[in-house]
């Protein structure tokens, strides 16, 4: 007898009379379980059907389920009943019957869903910033620095030349462009009163700023949360401890964070003046005695022109990430073009669109390292053997190489044969649909299945 399992949201959808009929007429022993029910031994069943929204059951998700249930992934099928019920309410059951019959008729492809875990090591290109380095160290992730090596894919890992190392992930730490919020003339710089936040952090411990006037200048972009916190903290300390006169000139104040807001309010209550100004109207020049800087600006609130003589001008730069070219690092038959998230907003902020390659952006190192740690320790679940190139049919046109969004199709350098790297394949089916020689097979499913999970042929 054929044992079938249906996982459903609502067990009433498949009534008992129908189940009995199927058992008697077809010899199918059908069991129904709630999708959320727990202890099940999935191996016993010949097929497992999920009655549900086909859109939310992507192939990747089905692979994951197959892995968790320890079953052959080609045993699991989704029946999109929502759609079917709307279109064919009367013939729903006959379609269901046909669907079961069709999937039983197909032989099971010998597939395995496997968890692939990358090597717990990363290469940082071209060089790790201090914060990134520290964040990686904290998580105990070993880093390799080899700015002039070339990479070749080996499964999910990267093989490095000439060192021979293998790493599980590559972190690109693109260079930054740092520009001051307003451009200052060299005379202003000559006063040596134009300083940065680090200077203030150091000096505040040694020096008394009693009675002095200090202006902080913060651009709206590229200032990290930590720098905002530091500014709030330092300005408060200077106002309270030294009774210095403090102005913080900004375009926007960042308070959307628990401590940020607290520190901001405390700074204000200690007498720090936060003034919103348009930076394009801001102008700085040295005082006559060259001991300070005169800053002129228009307040946004009441459009008043103000002139303040500052003893110190603490200016935070605006930081922008510059594009980084990955192509020279790859040793492959395909041109590797990494698209930084800045250039392609469709990508998540850490990913350049290549499996195992991450982009580190300033201020977000901690989050990134969390993502990398998860990737390195948990890896990914993939189906071995689902997509394969039939070498005899292949005419080596390299269409698949160019189409695969995951760079999973490789051409073997020595043999000059195409091969699908199953560890990277996301089972999207694009390669098969573009291959002019029909050389790419997606095992366990015909191409029609791939496009629409259920065939509605019986409705005539």
């Amino acid at each position: 007898m054929t044992k079938l399992l249906w996982l459903v949201d609502n067990p009433l959808l498949l009534p008992d009379f129908w189940l009995e009929k199927m058992e008697k007429e077809k010899g199918w022993k059908i069991e129904i379980r709630d999708r959320e029910s727990k202890v099940l031994n999935f191996i016993d069943y010949d097929r497992i059907f999920i009655l549900g929204d086909s859109l939310s059951f992507t192939r990747e998700r089905l692979s994951l389920l197959a892995y968790e249930w320890k079953v052959n992934p080609s045993k699991i099928q989704v029946f999109p009943w929502e759609e079917v019920k709307i279109v064919f309410p009367q013939s729903f059951f006959s379609i269901l019957e046909q669907f079961i019959a069709q999937s039983l008729a197909k032989p099971l492809a010998p597939l395995v869903a496997e968890r692939v875990v990358p090597e717990n090591k990363v290469l940082v290109l071209p060089q790790a910033s201090q914060t990134l380095d520290q964040a990686l160290k904290e998580k105990g992730i070993e880093t390799v620095v080899a700015p002039s090596s070339t990479l070749r894919r080996e499964g999910i890992n990267f093989h490095l030349f000439p060192s021979g190392d293998t790493v599980g992930a590559v972190v690109v730490s693109p260079p930054e462009e740092i520009t001051p919020p307003v451009s200052f003339s060299s005379e202003v710089e000559d006063t040596r009163k134009l300083v940065d936040l680090k200077f203030m952090e150091k000096e505040i411990e040694k020096k008394d700023f009693r009675g002095e006037t200090i202006i902080f200048l913060l651009p709206k972009r590229g200032v990290t949360e930590k720098e905002w916190l530091q500014t709030f903290y330092l300005s408060r300390l200077l106002a309270k401890r030294d009774r210095a006169e403090i102005f913080v000139l900004v375009e926007e104040v960042l308070v959307a964070g628990e401590n940020l807001e607290k520190e901001y309010r405390q700074a204000r209550s200690c007498g720090v003046i936060f003034e919103k100004v348009t930076f394009s109207s801001l102008f700085a020049q040295p005082t006559l005695d060259m001991r300070g800087i005169e800053v002129e600006f228009t307040t946004e609130r009441d459009r008043l022109k103000r002139k303040i003589k500052a003893d110190w001008l603490v200016s935070l730069p605006e930081r922008n990430v510059l594009p980084f070219d990955l192509a020279p690092f790859f040793d492959s038959d395909r041109i590797e073009e990494a698209i930084l998230p800045l250039a392609n907003p469709n990508l998540s902020s850490f990913s350049p669109g290549i499996e195992g390659i991450f982009v580190s952006l300033p201020g977000e190192e901690k989050n990134l390292v969390q993502v990398i740690e998860k990737y390195l320790t948990q890896g990914i679940v993939r189906e071995r053997g689902r997509v394969e190139v039939n070498e005899e049919k292949c005419i080596l046109c390299l269409t698949c190489l160019r189409t695969c969004p995951w760079r999973a199709v490789a051409i073997e350098k020595e043999r000059k044969k195409t091969r699908v790297n199953w560890e990277l394949c996301h089972l999207c089916g694009l390669c098969a649909s573009f291959c002019p020689a029909h050389a790419i097979e997606i095992k366990g499913l015909s191409f029609e299945d791939w496009l629409s999970p259920v065939s509605l042929g019986g409705e005539k």
Binding site: R35, E36, K38, V39, S56, R61, L65, E68, K220, R221, E225, E252, V253, L254, V255, A256, G257, E258, E261, R265, K276, E300, L342, P345, N346, S348, S349, N367, Q370
Partner: protein, 326 residues
């Protein structure tokens, strides 16, 4: 039933905590309605590109949960808390008695109801939408129902950053969700005139650059209007700028923030926890509250977005693990 850890509230924070600790401790999650909390009502804000609003992270989390062996009791109101020795005893309305070593409150925050904003026309005037309603309607295509409006204004900090009403805090998510909704509107109706009344732009997290770009596209006005009236079938907005000014719009979106949920207030009170000035449960770092053995995470201890709530829950999980191990 005896557990190591009882989690109250099955929103993003509670679920993440359960997910992180389920293999190490005996965990039970009790939820008064269904799993997901506020995040399950939020919509995807992608135009032709993803705007990294983070809502689908939650969808991923939920997907994972559907097939996991979690100890969860949904649809359970807790009727009583008691402490005997160093254990907590909890009873539910369905009669279950649960004993647990540790408690975590993850009962979340609720969007501010617009009827509290009647001065801005909330709940009173037509075509004054709450940001929360728009969020809920995104997946059903609410954006297309804005087709006929030629001008629209967002009013930020609706109910937040207001000390008079004891809500001096910034709700942290409204600037970002409002900008993303504005981008959706601009994308669908490039002609629409969008004004954005605000205090400061709180742009954090993913896609910062993109959000700044959106901000450059719309008309930013640094004022918070104090009154909205209906005049000649349009919404007239009063604000101060060199005297009283008024501007007319076809529709308004009030970007409401978060307030402590009734469950948070109630649970906090019953457990005798300290609250902060905004009415959220006070966290003394790493999720510790004023009561030993009781932890807090998620928006129950202050506004935050989904990703921060997840990160925080992971930190609190490690702390709980450390405490439990001794």
């Amino acid at each position: 039933m005896e557990y190591d850890l009882l989690i109250i509230g099955g929103g993003v924070a509670g679920l993440t905590l359960a997910q992180t600790l389920q293999d190490r401790l005996k965990v039970l999650l009790v939820e008064e309605s269904s799993l997901g909390g506020v995040a399950s009502s939020l919509g995807c804000k992608a135009t032709d590109e993803c705007l990294s609003c983070g809502v689908c992270h939650f969808v991923d989390l939920k997907r994972e949960i559907v097939f996991r062996k979690f100890n969860v009791l949904t649809d359970r109101k807790i009727t009583s808390f008691a402490k005997s020795g160093n254990k907590f005893q909890i009873k539910t309305e369905k009669g279950e008695e649960i004993t647990s070593q540790l408690l975590t409150v993850a009962t979340g925050a609720a969007p501010l109801e617009v009827k509290n904003l009647s001065r801005l026309g909330g709940g009173k005037l037509p075509r004054v939408y709450s940001g929360w309603d728009v969020e809920k309607g995104l997946n059903e295509g609410i954006i297309s129902s804005f087709r006929d409006f030629s001008s629209l204004a967002f009013i930020q900090c609706a109910g937040s950053r207001n000390f008079k009403e004891k809500r001096g805090y910034c709700s942290q998510v409204c600037c970002r969700y409002a900008l993303r909704i504005a981008e959706n509107l601009k994308f669908s109706f490039p002609q629409m005139n969008i004004d954005f009344y605000y205090m400061d732009l709180q742009i954090l997290g993913k896609k910062k650059e993109k959000l700044w770009e959106i901000a450059d596209k719309i008309n930013l006005i640094r004022h918070l209007p104090y009154e909205v009236k209906e005049e000649e079938g349009r919404l007239s907005l009063l604000f101060e700028e060199q005297g009283v000014e008024r501007k007319k719009y076809d529709a308004l979106i009030l970007s409401v923030g978060m307030v402590p949920s009734p469950g948070t207030q109630q649970t906090g009170k019953r457990l005798g926890l300290n609250f902060d000035s905004g009415g959220f449960i006070k966290s003394y770092g790493q999720g510790h509250t004023s009561c030993e053995g009781v932890f807090v995470c998620g928006t129950a201890c202050g506004p935050k977005d989904i990703e921060t709530a997840r990160e925080e829950a992971q930190i609190v999980a490690e702390e709980i693990w450390r405490v439990r191990r001794g």
